[in-house]
Amino acid sequence: MLTINSLVKRRGSQQILSGISFEARPGRVTGFLGPNGAGKSSTLRILLGLDRATSGSALIQGKPYAELHHPLATVGAALDGSGAHPMRTGRAHLRWIARAAGLPRSRVEEVLELTGLSDAAGKRVRNYSLGMGKRLGMAAALLGDPDILILDEPVNGLDPEGIRWIRTFLRKRAESGHTVLLSSHLMGELAETVDDVVIIKQGTIVAAGTLQEVIGRHSSLEEAFFALTMEKAGDGV
């Protein structure tokens, strides 16, 4: 369970998040949608304890990230890129994370297999394509077999096969009772994967609910998204 409550983030005079609240529940895939620069990544970074909130809270199973006893067994996160040093091999990257989390080395080979990276594991990360980097990020997120997955633009840069794999994988994850929160700006991909939708625009939530509730009388999620985000932009002009 992820709980975001009245979250505000200011950086200098810039207001990035203006008091947003939403939840991501177990057994469901929650899609966090919004245009670039709407505050999606900032929200996820605050949730993971990487950035500080100006006020409000972002809790994981009721606790801030820094208070989790086994963070990697609780939350798996994949943000920008692979999150690895370019000069390290994919395997070496996963091995140090496994060591930090007290996981056996065999687990590294398991997630490499799971994400289809076994053959590329000995290559340095700087030689990876965008899709391979994403897979490595996923592999790192899955190391601790966490209850919760937090993924920033997970399908970005993946080939059709990779997108299909992610979609099926996340569905299975949710069906077995796990919590999945993913951000995206790709409506088509999202509509087929998510149960719940949260739409953010300029640091404010403009819609939240089940996929059906958010689509409402619109013909598709994409239509609903543009109707909701444009409307607001129109008001400002």
């Binding site: 990487l50 990697l72 996160a77 040093h85 091999t89 070496a92 990257h93």
Partner: protein, 261 residues
Amino acid sequence: MRAFQAELSKLFSLPGIWLAVLIGAVAPAVIAALDAIAEKEAIIAGVSTRLPEMGYSGLGLGVQGVIILGVLAVSSEYVAESSETGGGQQMTTSLTAVSSRLHFLLAKAGAVTVISILLSMVAILTTVSATHLILGEYTPAFEGSRLAGAVCYWTFTALLAFGMTLLTRNGIIPLAVLIINSSVVSFSVLLHKVTKLAFYLPDRAGFEMFMFTSGSAHTPGTGSLFESYLTPLTGGLVMFAWVAVLLMLAAIVFRRRDVAA
């Protein structure tokens, strides 16, 4: 402890660290050998005033290996991936794996300290051997306390590099400043002509731990840069104070800072 092991694993899987180890093992021996060759005639003739410095000059000037180690340990966390692969950085992974920033820093500083101590011991071995090779029977005896001082000097230098890089989040400035300061032109050498306070700068104070023989400590007077000014213990404490203050400052800044900022 797990975080500490992870930091060691990170460092040893980084190619740049092996360069640091190589430089750390070789540079002081080369400097000491060159110095010994230059002084050999004077030493044999019994007129050299620099006999007590033989070997130690290499350990004093050959610290580039641990500087690279301290800088890389931090700067590698901030290296941005290419934009084609999404432009992330390892720091996000590190801080999600170890959620306490203080634990993360202690683990990293601990790994740098341990590797610096081991590397300085290797350097002592190569430097003493190189000095023996050149000077043969004229080699002065190496005192354990001075060698221990050199180990402290190397470790403190690595931690200074570590703290500076934590503040700059980029390795270039600390690397350039510290390497030039240690090998080409020392800031404290320039400054000591202006004020005695230069003797309290970390590198000069650290030198007191091993560069000068104990006898000269009681006759400071001339104010020469090549004579002892503080006792070895005071020198070590002064350098340690610099390290402690810098690391505390860096830790405070690091704990408050957003990763994205």
